[in-house]
């Protein structure tokens, strides 16, 4: 297929003020036998296997390699770590009154009961809702992409973007525990120790971030486009 062909299909570029028009109408680089560099975005045609980008020397591949398998492995690992992250204590506070162990949920409940509702809401969203949402969203994206589903393409693309943006915020509790253990070290009066739960929780955050990085959003659109192409 020639490049003039492509230019016609690619005419539908819109400016910042216009609203999105969804639809798998335009041709993909893969359809045209082109590969865009994943680092510097330069577009190449007639790419051989193991070629490197002439601009930035990164290895060229049309899709992230082994995307679905890697993402599945990381998501499953994150699901397993999610259990100890929520059941094991994330920190232990030893004071004159005795020892108190906190899990993620009990920390949130403590904020709620002591009247800091805004903070309770922030920690609840960052530490409880976001990891759960990320796991659910990644599993949904992976299943629908592998079944080559054409269901709500644009919404799924937006869901992926949301997962990318929100993922980092679940590190919140890890930082809180780090600071409290470093600061509250007044021997005899109050000491805070980090619990094993925080390591599991940090692992969930890292694993889900790696999973969303290895998931290739192009997979969402590939299925729809191949089917549309066959029908035409």
């Amino acid at each position: 297929m020639s490049t003039t062909d492509t230019a016609n299909t690619a005419d539908s570029l819109r400016s910042a003020s216009q609203t999105a028009q969804a639809g798998p109408s335009s041709k993909t680089a893969a359809d045209l036998g082109m590969v865009a560099c994943h680092h510097c975005a330069t577009l190449w045609k007639e790419v051989q296997a193991h070629d490197r980008c002439g601009c930035c020397d990164a290895r060229l591949h049309a899709r992230k390699p082994d995307s679905a398998n890697r993402a599945w492995a990381l998501v499953i690992a994150a699901c397993i770590m999610y259990i100890p992250a929520n059941t094991l204590p994330i920190m232990t506070t030893a004071s004159l009154l005795g020892e108190q162990q906190d899990t993620i949920m009990s920390g949130i409940i403590y904020f709620w009961v002591s009247g800091s509702w805004a903070l309770a809401a922030i920690v609840f969203i960052a530490s409880f809702l976001v990891p759960l949402f990320k796991l659910a969203a990644l599993i949904l994206l992976l299943i629908t992409a592998q079944r080559r589903s054409k269901w709500r393409l644009l919404q799924r693309a937006k869901l992926y973007r949301l997962v990318e943006v929100t993922g980092r915020w679940s590190m919140l509790d890890v930082f809180v525990v780090t600071l409290l253990t470093g600061l509250v070290q007044i021997k005899g009066f109050a000491t805070v120790y980090a619990g094993p739960g925080i390591a599991a929780f940090a692992a969930v955050v890292v694993l889900t971030m790696l999973a969303s990085l290895s998931f290739d959003p192009r997979m969402i659109w590939d299925a729809a486009k191949t089917k549309a192409g066959k029908r035409a």
Binding site: A16, K45, R168, F175, T178, L179, L180, Q185
Partner: protein, 203 residues
């Protein structure tokens, strides 16, 4: 292998578009999936370098001075970020400690230094060692710098402590606040555009 300079592919859905000519501060979005295709960076080019240098100053202040000081029964305790990390490590949590060290200390520093080097290098002619490596490093490290999340973590920890002790925010806390704002402005510069600037220079 041959370059196709007049077209570009969407990074999220792979749809091919004609490369747009953008005016000042204009942004082009993919008509298929709505992702950002290209952004005009001409206004950013001059402001990112001073912002990155200012961030570096704030970064030093934020890491050298204590973040919070706590007073309980006349005994004061204060900590810096690195102090907390080392304490966590000595307590038998090397994995969490290194993760915190990487996301709040190492990666932001790496990001700032690489960006400053690249922005200076790109305006000068001649051979620049590790140009490719550093640009790719900048893109890899970008999602892992979490200074803004850390700032929120400090605030949550402060509120938690006010119930049991007197808490005095340190200089580093304000520096972290300033660093967060500066880094937000610096990070809006996508390292991909360093290639564009470099190619324009060559032409």
């Amino acid at each position: 292998m041959q370059e196709v300079p007049d077209l570009l592919a969407c990074e999220e859905c792979d749809a091919v578009h004609r490369r747009p000519t953008l005016g000042r501060n204009e942004v082009a979005f993919c008509s298929c999936c709505g992702a950002e295709l290209e952004r005009d960076m001409s206004a950013y080019r001059t402001s990112v370098l001073p912002l990155a240098v200012a961030s570096l100053f704030m970064y030093v202040i934020a890491n050298v001075f204590p973040i919070v000081e706590m007073e309980l029964q006349g005994i004061a305790s204060r900590t810096t970020l690195i102090g907390s990390v080392f304490f966590l490590n000595s307590e038998g949590m090397p994995f969490v400690a290194s993760l915190v060290l990487a996301t709040t200390v190492l990666f932001p520093l790496l990001q700032l230094l690489a960006l400053i080097y690249l922005l200076v290098a790109v305006t000068r002619s001649g051979y620049h060692p590790a140009f490719n490596l550093l640009t790719r490093l900048l893109q890899t490290v970008r999602p892992w710098g979490m200074v803004e999340v850390f700032l929120l973590g400090v605030i949550v920890a402060l509120v938690k402590l006010t119930n049991m002790a007197t808490v005095v925010p340190g200089v580093a806390l304000w520096a972290f606040g300033a660093l967060t704002i500066l880094l937000a402005a610096v990070s809006s510069f996508n390292p991909r555009y360093i290639w564009r600037i470099a190619l324009l220079k060559q032409a």
